[in-house]
């Protein structure tokens, strides 16, 4: 397979969609981590967001079908977003309660949340599937269509440029705007400054009169909600309103966590970082066959397709490289918040 323009365009558009999922996850997690909460439950809350939006839209669409009316696109989108955000935020609330109020270990709680989210989602996914008549029968076409609707006033006749830049649904652009907005929020606003202080040094923030607990709760819940939107985007846009319990969301969730480190805790870097991760992940689709064949034969693989997984490791390798470079440069601004992963208790000494 030769690298053609069409191939390249497909790679880029694929990467952008793939990237949007992890960009949302990454932005949410950055918001959470800036408060000092290391929520490793990103895959879990993405699952929760995904399944809740699926459930909501399934109820709406099948309700419409029973009445014989056509589902309204905008309602589908609103239901999906609200359900997804709310369910994921609830996951964040659970996490906050356990780590902030009960002061349990954050890593363990996060990992448990991932398992919990995956389990809950797959259970209800199965339930909905059963209701709709078996495996592969869920098809929320109205919602998927609404999500994938292109933005009308963007030029469609600029050839390759249009395809690469303007062929996506509104949520792709919304994610970019969100990342920029979050960067501005963190660096330019007073609330953002207070939030960063909580993550760096909760005792300082506390002494300055910032309500540390409330701040952690709020940023963790909103952050989880945004991660959940990543799950919604995956279900409704990426796989077009279906349900598959193939563990793909979990892989995306971990990539989002890796991306947080990759970006140096700066949401604006998540924009190009997520697309880059997408390119890394999908690059095998337009690798010249010779390269893959060479790789396969060097490693003694019988099938060329086996090399795909090697390419899919690239994002993680990039993350490790960023970590190493970061620790060599020792620039304090691009490091993790100082109190990341630590519970705060005022009267402890």
């Amino acid at each position: 397979m030769l690298m053609t323009i069409a191939n390249l365009v497909a790679l880029i558009t694929n990467s952008v969609l793939f990237g949007t999922v992890i960009m949302l996850g990454c932005c949410g997690e950055i918001l959470t981590e800036k408060s000092g909460n290391l929520n490793l439950g990103v895959p879990g809350v993405m699952y929760l967001g995904g399944i809740a939006s699926l459930a909501g839209c399934y109820a709406y669409e099948s309700g419409c079908a029973a009445k014989g009316t056509t589902p309204a696109g905008y309602l589908c989108v609103i239901i999906a977003l609200v359900c997804g955000f709310a369910a994921a935020a609830l996951g964040g609330l659970l996490y906050s309660f356990i780590t902030v109020t009960l002061r349990a270990n954050q890593n363990v709680t996060g990992l448990a949340l991932t398992i919990f989210g995956a389990g809950t989602a797959n259970f209800f996914g199965g339930l909905i599937m059963q209701k709709s008549g078996g495996v592969g029968t869920i098809n929320l076409s109205a919602t998927a269509q609404a999500f994938r609707a292109q933005i009308p006033f963007l030029p469609k006749n600029w050839g390759v440029v249009s395809e690469v830049l303007f062929s996506y649904g509104a949520m792709v652009y919304a994610a970019v705007i969100l990342a920029v907005a979050m960067s501005l929020f963190l660096s330019k606003t007073r609330a953002g400054l207070n939030l960063r202080a909580v993550g760096e040094s909760p005792a300082t923030a506390d002494a300055a009169g910032i309500r540390v607990g409330r701040c952690k709760y709020l940023s963790t819940c909103v952050g989880a909600g945004i991660c959940g939107l990543g799950g919604v985007f995956y279900i409704m846009y990426y796989i077009k309103g279906m349900w598959a319990n193939d563990g793909y969301i979990e892989a995306l969730g971990w990539l989002a966590v890796a991306l947080v480190i990759f970006t140096g805790w700066r949401p604006v870097n998540a924009i190009w970082g997520s697309y880059l991760f997408g390119v890394c992940y999908w690059v095998y689709t337009c690798m010249p066959e010779a390269v893959s064949r060479f790789l396969a034969s060097t490693l003694g693989l019988t099938q060329i397709t086996y090399t795909q997984n090697l390419y899919k490791m690239l994002p993680y390798i990039a993350t490790i490289l960023v970590l190493i470079i970061g620790s060599i440069r020792q620039k304090k601004e691009n490091q993790a918040p100082q109190s990341l992963g630590l519970s705060y208790f005022r009267e402890e000494r």
Partner: protein, 513 residues
């Protein structure tokens, strides 16, 4: 004529578990006045003030501000009442600039960082501070950070300022600068409280002194009506002899010879230049110097923790004239030769102790490798821990209480006690009594003296010149990483040592690297 009362505490009590930190304390803080809160370590000074700043909540008692009873539930409440505290451990965010730290948590005052910076400059001009609003905190020196803390509190409009042991980390010059600022604030009508256990500072800066002992308020006196001796008596409860027992050195022989030692730190800064001296067994060698003059690096070089550039460190065990070269040896090997280092860093826990482990566990850290058994030997460390707890009167709930939950002074007793317990042939201690109360300090001096009489070579890096002169046999004075003189502690005067600390001799002056 008395100044108006800003804050009055009546019958305030606070307990942590079974330990009572403050019992029925009554205190008045007045405007336009500096009040010293004097007491030994663990006498509850900081706890008492933390109840004003909203960190702790009192179990009983009443607090009134300007005559109105108040409830201070959080630091926010404290700020609303105009009470600001500068903690011993600075509450600053490292990656923020000065201005960002100052505006943190403040609502509806100045909108932008730029306006905040303007206000900071005004405050600086008014009281005589020097702060660059755009400087990042991680680039600041300790004294700059402290200044920033004070500016932060003033920016929030505090008129009651509490400073927790503000001079503990400052050089004498920086202390004088701080005192000048405190006087300016006093003249401006602010109420200032300084928590301290340094008597000379109490006498110098304060108008009144409140003395706490074991969590109880003993008395509040006017500074002009009292004397250091009287304050000491109130502070410790009984008259303490100010004489440190010093035995004549016996069986003196060289135990450690350092020759031409030079050290360049990892960041390229030269910290020691051509240092030579001999430490004798049966003698205490004091090391004096302004902090940061290479004391830490010198001790660490001997202990094998610091890479040296050139020079040799030769250790002479008893009856061995040729000696052993220590440079290039692993810290573990050096320790097994009988050379022990107890360095008390500024944050006490940083080196030597594991905060989340109990006393027993921390005792074990030093010698867990000595046993060949697969299982840990618990009995001996526990006995040792118990002995240290009893002898040095460490107030801890139990031997397994994590040491980070102990107060600073107690943490230090554990650390120093452990080092001394290993009966080393060369014992190095740095700042062994830093932040310790008088009684415990004397316990430590006696322990060091016992080691000396036992025939160990003791190297004592200290801050207090009076103690150095009374405790040591000889004093080595470091200045800018060089040996600026070795004097006989019995005949030298304080002024003499002080001069050596601050001025390099003619020949070594201002050498550029």
């Amino acid at each position: 004529m008395d100044n108006p009362v800003a804050v009055r505490m009546t019958g305030v009590t606070k307990a942590f578990g079974s330990v009572v930190a403050n019992r029925d304390v009554c205190l008045e803080i007045r405007r336009g006045e500096v009040l010293s809160l004097l007491g030994e370590n663990g006498s509850g000074k900081t706890t008492l003030m933390n109840m004003l700043s909203g960190i702790y909540f009192p179990d009983a008692g009443e607090i009134t501000v300007n005559g109105t009873p108040v409830t201070i539930r959080s630091p926010k409440d404290a700020f609303a009442l105009g009470i600001g505290m500068i903690h011993q451990h600075f509450k600053l965010v490292d990656v923020f600039t000065a201005a960002e730290n100052v505006m943190l948590g403040v609502r509806g005052k100045d909108r932008s960082v730029r306006e905040t910076a303007e206000r900071i400059k005004e405050i600086c001009a008014k009281y005589g501070f020097e702060v660059d609003p755009r400087q990042k905190v991680y680039d600041m020196s300790v004294s700059q950070k402290q200044t920033l803390e004070i500016v932060k509190v003033l920016y929030r409009g505090a008129d009651v300022l509490i400073l927790d042991e503000p001079t503990a980390v400052l050089t004498p010059q920086e202390t004088q600068k701080l005192f000048a600022v405190i006087r300016n604030m006093k003249a401006d009508g602010k109420a200032v409280v300084i928590i301290t256990h340094k008597l000379n500072e109490v006498m110098e800066i304060s108008d009144r002194v409140a003395i706490l002992r074991r969590g109880e308020h003993i008395a509040t006196v006017s500074t002009c009506d009292t004397s250091p001796a009287q304050l000491t008596e109130m502070m410790v409860g009984q008259k303490v002899s100010l004489n440190i027992h010093r035995a004549e050195p016996a069986n003196v022989r060289p135990a450690l010879r350092v020759e031409g030692l030079s050290v360049v730190r990892e960041d390229g800064v030269r910290v020691l230049t051509d240092v030579s001296f001999t430490a004798n067994a049966g003698e205490i060698l004091g090391i004096a110097g302004i902090s940061g003059c290479g004391q830490k690096e010198l001790l660490e070089s001997v202990a094998g923790l610091q890479k040296t550039e050139k020079g040799s460190i030769i250790y002479y065990p008893e009856g061995d004239e040729t000696g052993t070269e220590l440079v290039g040896k692993q810290p573990g090997e050096i320790r097994r030769l009988g050379i022990s280092l107890s360095f008390v860093p500024e944050d006490r826990l940083g080196m030597g102790l594991v905060g989340s482990m109990g006393m027993t566990g921390n005792m074990m850290l030093k010698n867990y490798g000595d046993s060949r058994s697969f299982f840990l030997e618990n009995r001996k460390p526990r006995e040792l821990a118990q002995r240290i707890k009893d002898e040095l009167e460490v107030s801890a709930e139990g031997l397994s209480t994590p040491v980070r939950r102990l107060s600073g002074g107690n943490v230090q007793k554990v650390l120093v006690g452990r080092e001394i317990a290993s009966s080393p042939s060369v014992l190095m201690t740095a700042y062994a009594v830093r932040g310790l109360d008088i009684n415990t300090s004397y316990t430590i001096y006696n322990l060091l003296n016992k080691q000396k009489e036992r025939g160990a070579a003791v190297i004592y890096v200290g801050e207090d010149l009076d103690v150095l002169l009374e405790l040591s046999d000889r004093i080595l004075v470091l200045c800018g990483g060089r040996v600026n003189g070795i004097v006989d502690a019995r005949s030298a005067t304080k002024e003499e040592v002080g001069a050596l600390m601050t001025n390099l001799e003619e020949n070594g002056e201002e050498e550029k690297e």
